[in-house]
């Protein structure tokens, strides 16, 4: 690793940038993720920043269950993030599907679509637990040097993709 890459890697550890994506969550976990940013928990003092652009992000925070429709969006966001990256699944839903796992439109947890590094339990997870999850994800990022190849994705997205590609036909409005 060259000098600049080393430097980048060091600074990344000091100030990880997060992107938050809500798959089919009930909002409980989303607002707890947002609550981490606010004065009581204030993760920004640790250099953690919440941003809207996946191309700038190091850590993907996903809350909620995956369904065929948002699986594609989730994968898309994941693919746009530069290496090295880590994924945190928030809440019972993100981990396994939670109370909704038997519902017909739920594929399961986030790990059905993209590889997950940290699971944060709870329904909803407490902000403290989410911050702890970010710290754990940083540990993982630390050993993931930038040269390392992307890990193969474990998902079986065929069905989801077909579903998505036919979207035009299914649409009622416009």
């Amino acid at each position: 690793m060259g000098f600049f890459q080393e430097l980048l890697h060091k600074s990344r550890m000091k100030s990880p940038w997060l992107i938050h994506f809500d798959c089919g969550s009930c909002n409980g976990c989303d607002i707890e993720v947002l609550a981490c940013l606010t004065p009581v928990y204030d993760v920004e003092r640790f250099g953690v920043l919440n941003i809207g652009n996946p191309k700038h992000a190091d850590i993907l925070v996903v809350s909620g269950t995956v369904n065929p429709r948002n699986a594609k969006v989730l994968k898309n966001i994941y693919d746009q993030m530069p290496e090295p990256k880590a994924v945190i699944a928030i809440g019972a839903c993100g981990t396994s599907g939670g109370v909704f796992r038997e519902a017909y439109n739920v594929l399961g947890g986030v790990d059905k679509v993209i590889p997950v590094d940290v699971y944060v339990p709870g329904c909803p997870s407490k902000p403290e637990a989410i911050i702890d999850g970010v710290v754990l994800a940083l540990e993982k990022l630390k050993v993931r040097k930038p040269e390392k190849d992307t890990e193969p994705l474990v998902a079986d997205l065929k069905k989801a993709r077909e579903f998505y590609e036919n979207r035009e036909e299914r649409q009622v409005t416009g």
Partner: protein
């Protein structure tokens, strides 16, 4: 020439996957086409594998922001079917928790709206104040967001006299804090510039398109389901908050004034709460059909339940306020500028996980 610009499903101003396709001509929105289904879970069908007590936990998770009111409405349905008389204290406690939810929901929304303006500090202040409410919820019910206090026949937990006193104290503090941020909201030039006269929904349109909640009251229709007197609302006195203009500013003010109203309702309830049982005995299985309505922070919520005396309910149908508020949104968007879209979309306080369940 028209261009189509996607708005969402992953968008910085909104934590939720709202997806609109905006047909633009230069900077002006000509048409907005919504696409739903990103958070559809199909939880109404879970009624066929979860019994009626377990369903309370499921319907709470329709939406994490107003979970208490969902559970309350569902319990009202089952209690109505089985003819259960809920103890008066349970009714009071349910409504106190519901109003606390309304406060935290409105403060959360205020923060998000301020964030959409670019008023970062207002966002932080609104959420700082909101943490007070969350502390109360955590201390009295055991969890911050999904509190699971409702059960069929009453409530699971009680509030001790100390806690009730503390709730009053927090209500006072909240009012002071709100007084502090009020001038920032009402006197700020840029807030006025971005909201006054933007996203207008007239009385007629609001009425005809079936808008709900602050959206409807912002257009001058004085309709508040709490006035029907379900739960403990029949014991207290209050009036719906109404604004005339129907623009984003009016909706903002409705919600802001409702915060004061909620504080007032909590005060009235806490000061007159009776002693007594927490829950009535539940025996047997429900039978028949029923529909119940309640007022969520976002508007009218309706539950329809059909039961056949079986272990499982036959059908649970949930109609949520944001679902009613999407058609008015599509009327408000055409003609506005692209840059105003996030603010107009936020001014209906969309809750997508409610809409799609």
């Amino acid at each position: 020439m028209a261009t189509i610009v996607p708005f969402g499903p992953q968008h910085p101003v909104l934590p939720e996957p709202l997806h609109l396709r905006l047909v633009l001509e230069d900077e002006i929105v000509k048409e907005a086409l919504p696409t739903l289904g990103y958070v559809h879970r199909g939880l109404e069908t879970l009624a066929s594998i979860r019994d009626m007590d377990q369903m309370v936990q499921i319907v709470e998770r329709v939406c994490g922001i107003c979970s208490c009111i969902h559970a309350h409405t569902y319990c009202m349905c089952i209690e109505g079917l089985m003819g259960i008389e809920v103890p008066k204290r349970a009714d009071y406690l349910r409504v106190i928790w519901s109003e606390l939810h309304r406060m935290h929901s409105h403060l959360l929304w205020l923060g998000l709206l301020a964030d959409a303006f670019g008023m970062e500090s207002m966002f932080m202040h609104a959420w700082r104040i909101r943490e007070r409410v969350m502390d109360v919820l955590e201390a009295t019910a055991g969890n911050r967001v999904i509190i699971s206090v409702n059960k069929i026949g009453g409530v699971r937990r009680d509030m001790s006299p100390d806690q009730l006193r503390w709730v009053l104290q927090v209500a006072d503090e909240l009012e002071k804090e709100l007084d502090l941020i009020k001038p920032v909201l009402t006197n700020d030039y840029s807030v006025k510039k971005r909201t006054v006269g933007v996203g207008v929904l007239t009385y007629q349109q609001a009425y005809e398109l079936g808008a709900a909640g602050p959206q409807l009251r912002g257009s001058g229709v004085a309709q508040d389901i709490r006035m029907t007197g379900y739960g403990a609302y029949k014991y207290i006195d209050f009036a719906p908050v109404v604004e005339k203009d129907g623009d984003s500013w009016a909706r903002t003010m409705v919600r802001f004034r409702e915060l004061y109203q909620s504080i007032d309702i909590v005060r009235q309830l806490v000061s007159s709460i009776p002693d007594g049982e927490l829950a009535a005995k539940v025996k047997g299985k429900p039978m028949g059909e029923i529909a119940c309505r309640s007022e969520q922070p976002r508007g009218e919520l309706m539950y329809y339940v059909k039961a056949t005396g079986d272990k499982y309910l036959d059908r649970v149908r949930i109609r949520t306020p944001t679902f009613a508020n999407v058609p008015p949104l599509l009327v408000m968007l055409p003609g506005c500028e692209m840059a105003d879209v996030p603010i107009i979309a936020l001014s209906i306080d969309p809750c997508i996980s409610c809409t799609e369940r």
